[in-house]
């Protein structure tokens, strides 16, 4: 069974924006993605309108098409609330799959977390 860990951090901003840093490590596939996705839906629900998300993918080794579907849905929910979603430090194979499904047209990827923070604050 694929293993994944998800951790959440609040990002402090000068402008008072709500920004959550979500680190996903390991592998997201059919065996675990539905359970792991619930944790992120809970954060989005708690955050409410105006929440911004930075996904830090430096430890993410694999994501399947269903996990990309969830990522798209999180983007839709955050955008509907006026927030932004960005990705930082994704490995080349992860960026490759995000590109082939067209998600990089919606969600910008950044090489560092600092650059991702600048994009949302």
């Amino acid at each position: 069974m694929a293993q994944a860990t998800i951790t959440f951090e609040d990002v402090q901003t000068n402008g008072g924006k709500k920004v959550k840093l979500i680190k996903i490590a390991g592998q997201l596939d059919e065996s675990n993605v539905d359970e792991e996705a619930k944790k992120i839906y809970a954060v989005i629900e708690q955050g409410g309108a105006g929440l911004n998300l930075i996904f830090e993918f430096s430890g993410l080794e694999y994501m399947n098409s269903k996990s990309i579907g969830y990522l798209t849905d999180w983007y839709s929910k955050i955008s509907a609330g006026g927030g932004k979603v960005v990705i930082a430090q994704a490995k080349s194979n992860i960026v490759d799959i995000l590109q082939v499904v067209g998600l990089t047209q919606l969600i910008t990827t950044y090489p560092t977390v600092e650059e991702a923070k600048l994009a949302v604050v």
Binding site: A2, D29, S65, G69, G102
Partner: protein
């Protein structure tokens, strides 16, 4: 499995998998190692083919074979030429499709993906499997079930192929 395969002869490996997504990570590890070490494909294409295999196996587990049945996965590596994956289900699953239905479904989903698609499901076949293979064939098995063959050819100038892939649609052979 370290280093290059010592033979230039085609290698065929068949794995029988219980209908359970629990085992998919092992199949992905095997696919990545095989493609990196025995085919001549680049690391980028090894990761891509790993994803293709995962998506096809997952479809067979989700739709084609019932719990307690099997999914049969066959890798055919023709070193320096091609790699092919054949995934066979038993046709006992809750949402099984025949070859014609799969062909129609693929066409529908490719059309659906032309606009900005924000749905939860439906990207695996048209945006990953079809984009990252050169031939994709659906066949009905004589004893029931579906056989899906996905083949990728190795080109001499892979960078050129990558550039072409970005500029034009992937060739698909649908039977």
């Amino acid at each position: 499995m370290a280093g290059e395969n010592q033979t230039s002869e085609p290698v065929k490996i068949t794995i029988i998998l219980p209908t359970n997504a629990y085992f998919l990570s092992g199949i992905r590890d095997f696919t990545l190692s095989l493609t990196k070490n025995m085919t001549g494909f680049s690391d980028q294409w090894a990761y891509r083919f790993q994803t293709v295999v995962d998506e096809l196996c997952n479809n067979a587990i989700e739709h084609g074979s019932a719990k307690g049945k099997d999914v049969v996965i066959t890798f055919i590596s023709d070193p320096k030429k091609s790699i092919e994956i054949v995934v066979e289900d038993t046709g006992t699953g809750p949402n099984k499709y025949n070859a014609q239905q799969m062909t129609n479904l693929l066409k529908e989903r490719i059309a659906m993906m032309h606009s900005q698609y924000l749905g939860l499901r439906g990207r695996g076949l048209p945006k990953i499997v079809a984009e990252w293979t050169d031939e994709l064939i659906f066949e009905d098995k004589p004893d029931g079930g579906l056989r899906v063959k996905a083949k990728k050819y190795l080109r001499e100038k892979e960078d050129q192929v990558l550039l072409e892939a970005q500029n034009k649609a992937t060739h698909l052979q649908l039977v």
